[in-house]
């Protein structure tokens, strides 16, 4: 059996080659579904290490993005072993960059980290109007809605989206988190969200607290 600590450390170190070499060897050994799930959990722990290193200022956004690339490649290797028998999800969420804003990066980082933490994430994409959030919330009844934006203008779109969810009678059933460089405590209050962050790792901790 693979040394799971080495898997966690390789992802934490962003050592892509070493990690994928170990995983290829693991797959070739004909592992069980349970063993593969343990490897996925080790990768998730590696992502937690990456988040910690980001919060302490050792890693930067580029490192977070690359960790997502490595995780995607790692999961693509392991998925055939696990098949459809995915492990339990800790919660579901809908995310999107709000109307008028085409920035994708922050949302993508958050999505990677939330998925690594066990959330099932439905990504609406960029430039999404309030109606798109409302429709998706009606469809899947998520635990959390996440709105992202970089332009100062996006704060208005976030406010409109929260108002739309309220009008549709959906607001009380969900928690809302907003993220992006123009977001502040004051903006969060004006928008009517439950939490705000400019840090993906912190954001994931907040939504974990909501579903625990």
């Amino acid at each position: 059996m693979l040394d799971l600590k080495k898997i966690t450390q390789a992802l934490g170190d962003l050592d892509e080659k070493n990690l994928l070499d170990m995983l290829n060897e693991f797959i070739a050994s004909g592992p069980t579904v349970e063993e593969a799930r343990e490897v996925v959990a080790a990768c998730q722990e590696g992502m937690t290490l990456v988040g910690d290193l980001y919060e302490t200022g050792i890693y930067f956004v580029g490192d977070l993005i690359f960790s997502g690339e490595i995780l995607t490649a790692a999961l693509a290797l392991i998925k055939p072993v696990i098949g459809a028998a995915n492990g339990p999800k800790v919660g579901t969420m809908v995310i999107g960059t709000v109307h008028g804003d085409l920035h994708d990066m922050g949302k993508q980082i958050f999505k990677n980290m939330a998925e690594a933490a066990g959330f099932e994430v439905f990504d609406l994409g960029i430039d999404q109007p309030a109606s798109a959030f409302i429709e998706k919330v009606k469809e899947i009844s998520p635990d959390v809605v996440g709105m992202s934006g970089v332009l100062t203008l996006s704060l208005d779109s976030m406010k409109d989206t929260v108002a739309g969810l309220k009008e549709a009678g959906l607001r009380d059933d969900i928690k809302i988190i907003i993220g992006g460089s123009p977001v502040t405590e004051a903006a969060c209050k004006r928008i009517g969200a439950d939490a705000w962050t400019i840090n993906a790792a912190e954001g994931v901790r907040i939504i974990q607290g909501w579903v625990s």
């Binding site: 892509e16 930067f60 690339e69 994708d104 100062t152 460089s181």
Partner: protein, 384 residues
């Protein structure tokens, strides 16, 4: 305002800007407005009614008259006039102009594969013209070379000349512009136009030497462009800084820094000033920025503490920033003026500081007009 008075004020602005770039003390706090789409909003003009550059210049002139800022990096960029024709000539490609804003789907930016670095490094110009542009603009794919080059020249040079005339018209109306040219640092060029974020970040991790060498090759290809530009003591080449804020110092040093530093040195050697727009935070890279040429550099900072910026970099470059757009939107006139007083008191002594909004003012939410007016009037009447 009489023409004579306007000319006198313009000359004073030119001198104040040139002195501040040289980090000399000046008579009043230099105010560098960074406003773009805020111009028509402030002027009370609906953007869709502006159908010519002459009308756009009137908008800029009106705002300049009212606010009397010393300089703005570039004037309002009416997207329908500036990008619209270019995009039409090149058949749209990955761009659209919607609601007077240029939009690009980030998923369409990655039009170069990492295996193509050697081809780019061999000859960036050929690679751009023959490979990348036809991918970005499908209309360039199945036409003869002559027609292809004619389209590119018409889009870039023809429309560029109209914009130059517009800038000239703005200056004739008394609005001093800092901009003498627009460039993108070589590795940001890769990021912005070829590889998008995930692509360039992955390249930086997987093949840092190729990213570095591509940056150096693009830098060489830039040099004839720089030689064709005319330097002036009150003007600067504008370079927005994109990806370094997201890189660790180690990755930055290996990949971005070699072409960034070399290109900065070349522009300054050619007599140019350079204004870098440091988007987001740059505190982790201050040690490198201290190694840029000691003259001719202006750094506009967005999210860094300006007092720390001046302390760390004030002996290397002129610095700009600090005016809180959040306060201008949500504070009172009195609070805004107190804020500006603090900036002037702490940052103007010794010269080399432009008061500049901490984020480019683009939308109505970037500041209430009455607060901006109060700030501008205070700065105009303040003497050092």
């Amino acid at each position: 305002m009489s023409d004579q008075r306007q000319t006198k004020l313009y000359k004073e602005k030119q001198e104040r800007v040139a002195k501040t770039i040289r980090r000399e003390e000046v008579d009043k706090p230099p105010f560098m407005l960074s406003a773009d789409d805020y111009f028509p909003y402030y002027a009370g003009v609906e953007k869709s009614t502006v159908t010519s550059y002459d009308m756009a210049a009137d908008v800029v002139g009106k705002v300049s008259d009212d606010l009397q800022f010393d300089t703005t990096i570039f004037p309002w960029l009416p997207a329908n006039l500036f990008y619209g024709p270019k995009i039409r000539i090149l058949g749209g490609g990955t761009y659209t102009v919607r609601n007077f804003e240029k939009m690009q789907d980030p998923e369409k930016v990655r039009i170069m594969g990492p295996e193509e670095y050697p081809e780019l490094i061999k000859n960036p110009n050929t690679y751009l013209l023959e490979t990348v542009l036809p991918r970005r603009f499908e209309v360039l794919q199945d036409i003869n070379p002559e027609e292809k080059y004619n389209r590119i020249v018409e889009a870039v040079l023809g429309e560029g000349q109209k914009f130059s005339n517009y800038m000239q018209a703005c200056e004739e109306k008394g609005c001093h512009l800092t901009l003498s040219g627009l460039m993108v640092n070589p590795v940001d060029f890769l990021f912005d136009f070829f590889r998008e974020f995930t692509g360039i970040v992955s390249d930086i991790k997987r093949c840092p030497e190729l990213v570095r060498d591509a940056g150096l090759a693009i830098s060489e290809a830039y040099k004839p462009i720089i030689r064709s530009m005319k330097p002036a003591s009150d003007k600067a080449i504008f370079i927005p800084m994109h990806i370094p804020a997201f890189l660790s110092p180690r990755d930055f040093e290996k990949t971005y820094w070699p072409s960034f530093k070399g290109f900065a040195e070349y522009m300054v050697e050619q007599g140019h000033n350079v204004v870098y727009y440091f988007e987001k935070k740059y505190g982790h890279l201050f040690d490198y920025l201290q190694e840029l040429p000691k003259k001719g550099i202006i750094g506009v900072f967005q999210e860094d503490d300006m007092r720390l910026v001046k302390k760390k970099l004030g002996s290397s470059m002129a610095v700009a920033g600090g005016l809180s757009t959040t306060l201008m939107q949500h504070g009172t006139k009195e609070e805004c003026i107190e804020h500006v007083k603090g900036l002037i008191q702490d940052l103007c002594p010794g010269g080399g500081y432009f008061i500049t909004p901490d984020t480019p003012m683009m939308y109505p939410v970037d500041g209430r007009p009455e607060n901006l007016k109060a700030v501008a009037d205070y700065i105009r009447d303040c003497r050092l």
